[in-house]
């Protein structure tokens, strides 16, 4: 419990520093005004979501090969946390787009790919909810998780190619495109608290799943006795 609180405290401090940097250290963008600062939330969320999904992928492969329930717990924790960050990314995208472009959704390549990513992992969680027996659920969702993750580069690649055929406004440009060096430094720094938050959330979720797993075990043994 103490480790958890210490971890939470560190994350809060990091987030506070990042917020300060985002608002006061990064210079104002001449064209977009203050709204562009949402980039310091939007991009790190997107990247952190991907990192979480990568952790999920590793956990999935490990479960299929080792069949230890711990990997299943890590997999679902990583997927849920990844989905949270991905949702944040998808919400901040339109919030930025509306004042700047006048429309909520521009079918920008990265945002569209992120939307598909979101759908993939929602499906992963949906699959889990429809499988009752724990070992079946762990194995089959791990296999789907593996297919989903190897699809990710193909999704991003094909959608990017599609958008080059029909150019549309790009949300915030690619990382580092036309960004002032200070802005870039702040952006890179903002990634740190996001990753820390990701670890904190995954850890909590993992412990919850572990407790659920143990409880389920005890309950079934009591029923059988």
């Amino acid at each position: 419990m103490k480790k958890q609180s210490a971890g939470a405290a560190i994350v809060v401090v990091l987030l506070a520093i990042a917020a300060y940097a985002a608002f006061f250290i990064a210079p104002t963008d001449s064209k977009q005004g203050v709204i562009y600062r949402i980039i310091f939330l939007h991009v790190p969320c997107a990247e952190t979501g991907l990192v979480a999904f990568f952790v999920c992928f590793v956990a999935n492969v490990a479960y299929v090969l080792k069949r230890n329930a711990k990997w299943d717990w890590l997999g679902v924790s990583a997927a849920e946390v990844g989905l949270v960050f991905t949702t944040a990314c998808l919400v901040t995208g339109p919030i930025w787009a509306k004042p700047v472009w006048g429309i909520w959704w521009t079918w920008d390549a990265r945002l569209t790919s992120t939307a598909v990513l979101w759908l993939l992992y929602v499906s992963y969680l949906m699959l889990r909810s429809l499988l009752e027996e724990p070992e079946r659920r762990a194995l089959l969702s791990a296999l789907f998780g593996i297919f989903a993750f190897i699809d990710v580069p193909l999704v991003f690649g094909s959608i990017r190619w599609w958008r080059t055929q029909h150019p549309q406004p790009v949300i915030m440009g690619g990382p580092g495109s036309g960004l002032d060096p200070t802005m870039l430094r702040v952006l890179l720094f903002c990634w740190v608290p996001m990753l820390a938050l990701m670890v904190l959330l995954m850890h909590s979720r993992y412990r919850l799943e572990a407790m659920r797993g143990d409880l389920e075990l005890v309950r079934r043994e009591a029923e059988a006795a």
Partner: protein, 224 residues
């Protein structure tokens, strides 16, 4: 027995079973026909619009049809637990998956080829000049749909609400195939048809990547 000969025997069984009843092919063709006709009510199917939307319509119709057609793939092996019999008989379980995905690709292609002239006539889009290249993208796209579809059919067959689950799992996963195949097809259906090899590249890459994944993890898909 070797992987290839087992696959051949099983493919023969899949084809024999289907051609005996023709249930799958008939219902799939009728479904696509319905989709093609219904879509015409959603926009004005004059020639220029058809060329613009036609590719998307075709591939969406194929995807929806496939997600229905793939349902029985492993469900029919559950009736008499014939999947266990197959697992006992073959030396490499990948043969089971390979045979099914080959059969599914074939069935999809047959329905697509049956639909093509209907689409061409109803929407007034000539397809004969680009038929060869169209067949290439149809083949690679159908292969991708089958590879992913066969794998996910094995997964969803073991879950609740499997009829709804399969499309839910399959459609997002097939995004690269949909995006790239539609683009290539749109180029071919254009007034001045052109081939986009990069798109073909994407679909082919998808096929290779997923076939490899199926080969690596396939036996776990069939586990009890």
């Amino acid at each position: 027995m070797s992987l290839l000969s087992n696959t051949g025997v099983l493919l023969g069984k899949e084809l024999r079973t289907e051609f005996r009843s023709r249930e799958l092919l008939t219902t799939t063709v009728i479904f696509i026909l319905m989709v093609v006709v219904l879509f015409s009510f959603t926009f004005d199917p004059t020639s220029t619009d058809s060329r613009r939307f036609g590719a998307g319509l075709l591939w969406l119709a194929f995807l929806f049809a496939a997600s229905l057609m793939l349902q029985p793939c492993f469900l029919r092996e559950q009736t008499n637990d014939t999947l266990s019999a197959l697992r006992l008989a073959v030396s490499d379980p990948f043969a089971i998956l390979l045979a099914k995905l080959a059969a599914n690709t074939l069935f999809l292609l047959v329905t697509e080829l049956l639909m093509l002239p209907v689409f061409s006539v109803l929407y007034n889009v000539p397809v004969l000049p680009v038929l060869g290249r169209l067949l290439l993208v149809f083949f690679l796209g159908s292969l991708g749909v089958s590879i992913a579809g066969t794998a996910l059919s094995a997964i969803s067959a073991q879950a609740r609400m499997r009829e709804l689950l399969l499309p839910l799992l399959l459609l997002p996963l097939l995004t690269p195939v949909l995006v790239a195949s539609t683009q290539v097809t749109a180029g071919l259906l254009d007034v001045a048809p052109f081939m986009q090899w990069k798109g073909i590249g994407f679909v082919a890459t998808f096929d290779v990547v997923f076939l490899t994944a199926l080969w690596l993890f396939g036996e776990y898909l069939l586990e009890e």
